[in-house]
Subunit: 427 residues, 2 copies
């Protein structure tokens, strides 16, 4: 039996440091379960002279990737650098050299997941990526194992902590988007350039990964519809509140009779929905499936130790198999290529500014009717002089019909502007 499993970490930022801490501080706990020691033998960094937050022996550090990739002693390569390149090349090279891989890289997995998993399978290697989605929440393992015998129909997720923090602030404190964003930046929850988070790119990667596993299909990241939260206004949050809804940046992925629809956008969600109660930087994934029904997984979407634990647990799972001398497989679960739904039906909330005079409501309603858009409710909101605000809630309707109706309404002379359009998810 093996006495040691040797690990190298590529990238020693927040998550790398957390992973190292867990592996060293919980060494005994891990040995008790693996039956061998998991030893970190190399750490790839950009600058080996940089001062670090954590004490680790000097000799561990290298700035040369080949010290790891070409080292035959290393069993598991842990890629925590982020970004597409050189991470992707390093992962592929590690697999070619017979090393198991653990990664937290959502961009690589969303864009190159099938290539990587296929390569791993060809070489009888494991590639694990729990930490790539929802930090400390073990959603990948649940999908790949516990739900593998079931048919998932829908995955809804709050998969980006930064935007959930901003929307929570806006909802609880009545602040506008810009103010809440600045606060998130001051607390380190949002980057100086917040685009990746607030425009939904980060969430889109994660939804692509979850969908590819849940629906057993390759998912093209370009097919994930994406809209961020920068246009969400306090007024919409207040009106939503009156209607019993909370606005969340929600990833929604559906398998509609074998065709996929995947999107990330602000969504009005009933307050009693389990996802509506997910506050601050927390993440949660809500799953509908044929056999199990409804499941939700909730927890920290980021954080040094939380995400570090997901990485450490993946390393441990592989180490157990190495110790037993077992054959391994990554079991790429995206063994189909599903098409995409041509047009999804959804309900919409839309707020518009109109001229405040008799007949305007009827005129707009008539346009909705002409395009086959049924209205579930209309609220005439605040009126200021000759301007009024109207909020419409539609029944489920094809998106193109709805967009055409909106276009026609926008061109009416009684309509000043369409202020917002937000998808409504009532079930």
């Amino acid at each position: 039996m093996r006495e040691k499993v040797k690990v190298a970490i590529m990238g020693f930022g927040t998550v790398g440091t957390g992973t190292y801490k867990i592996l060293t501080e919980n060494r005994e706990l891990i040995v008790n379960q693996v039956g061998a020691d998991i030893e970190v033998v190399k750490i790839l960094v950009r600058d080996i002279n940089k001062k670090r937050q954590i004490e680790a022996p000097e000799y561990l550090f290298t700035s040369d990737a080949d010290d790891i990739l070409e080292n035959p002693e290393i069993d598991i390569v842990v890629e925590l650098m982020g970004g597409l390149e050189p991470a992707y090349s390093y992962i592929m090279k590690a697999l070619e050299r017979g090393k198991h891989v653990v990664t937290a890289n959502k961009e690589v997995m969303a864009k190159k997941g099938r290539d990587i998993l296929t390569k791993a399978d060809e070489n009888s290697l494991r590639l694990c990526f729990e930490a790539s989605v929802c930090g400390g929440v073990p959603i990948i393992r649940a999908l790949k194992n516990s739900l593998a015998t079931d048919r998932i129909t829908k995955i809804m997720g709050i998969v980006n902590g930064t935007t959930n923090y901003i929307l929570t602030k806006m909802s609880q404190e009545g602040s506008e988007y810009e103010e809440a964003l600045r606060e998130a930046q001051a607390l380190g929850y949002a980057e100086a350039d917040p685009t990746a988070d607030v425009e939904g790119y980060d969430a889109a990667y994660k939804m692509a990964i979850l969908s590819s596993i849940g629906f057993h299909s390759k998912v093209d990241i370009d097919k994930v519809k994406r809209e961020g939260i920068s246009k969400v206004s306090q007024l919409d949050i207040e009106y939503g509140n009156e209607l019993g809804w909370t606005i969340k940046l929600l990833g929604i992925a559906q398998d509609v009779e074998g065709k996929l629809d995947i999107s990330v956008s602000p969504v009005m969600l009933p307050k009693q929905h389990p996802l509506a109660g997910v506050m601050g930087v927390n993440n949660a994934v809500f799953i509908n499936s044929e056999a199990v029904g409804e499941l939700m997984f909730y927890g920290p979407g980021a954080g040094q130790m939380a995400t570090g634990n997901s990485v450490a647990a993946d390393i441990m799972a592989i180490a157990k198999q190495i110790v037993m001398g077992n054959k391994m497989q990554s079991n790429c679960s995206c063994f189909t290529d599903k098409d995409y739904v041509e047009e999804l039906k959804a309900g919409y909330y839309t707020r518009m500014n109109v001229i405040n005079k008799p007949g305007v409501l009827a005129k707009i309603a008539a346009v909705f009717g002409n395009f086959g858009v049924s209205i579930e409710s209309v609220l005439q909101k605040k009126t200021e002089g000759d301007k009024a605000e109207i909020v419409w809630i539609t029944a489920k309707v094809g998106e193109s019909s709805f967009r055409k109706a909106i276009e026609a309404i926008e061109s009416l002379d009684v309509v000043n502007s369409i202020s917002s359009i937000i998808r409504v998810e009532n079930n």
Copy 2:
């Protein structure tokens, strides 16, 4: 490579039928992931002539356990009979005969878990028991894998759907316990003899199982403190509501500096706690750990297909390893024998009926003070003639001090009765 993995099911009630349905209806999905067919080759039933809800070939059924246990072709034995015996003997015999085992049996796992897992490990076999706790919620896999590198400090769970349904009814509709229980019975959520559910026995088994994995220790089922919901009154729910609390039957397991405290009892929980929103027959487990922080797993606590899926996923996990010809281990994670906390500190809510005259409140408060019990708040509730109701909320206090104070208060001549005592969980 193996073309088939052969499975036998012992017990063909609700969960057995669900498991069989999933394995047959999702056969192709499973083959795609396992690389081999999972075939049910025998089903043990009490009466082979009984009419069944589901069509299955006649030749599958047997009433002789040895047709399964002594059949060398069977790879995996699935025990779904429930109860301690003969289930325990069958499981042990299956392991002795070199068969992997999947079970949904909470009683067997709570009482004999370590014996069984040790036997499995000795024979290099897997024993999986996801379905024994929380039906369709994959909490065992999360604890055994995703959280294996972390240190869990507290596990709180709504692990019994029947009692959660009753408490939800009482809370939402203002009904008394007896009425809500009758409704649960009419809907098939509660048995004719509801004792196992309403008195907390079922929940105690599940908390023993979760604790043994989460805290890596053998847990003696007799050490799990247990109190049911039959004494919870509508008045306590209403007063709790005023205070911002919901009453749940909660399993609470803690590792306090290496010593365990495990209990099942009605608990006052703040309404904003994620567990407070778990309604009806749903289950949820909330975990505190050092690295990850807070995690919650939510879903159906029972049901033919939901629980059947947990069984099927366990079967699939084992089948994958069989197909690869791998060595297996059950990795009994309870490798320590932790002691129990001698006395846990908790806050308490207590409602008492007293004689309505001046000085009574002071008299009772003095007794609390004498026993070192600090009071956080007092509410004098409804007064009828010479009787009044007083609700006390204590600060955290050792249980024995609190119980002694209550005993002394009960003997005061101004006190008619102690109507209820409910633990308060504020964090």
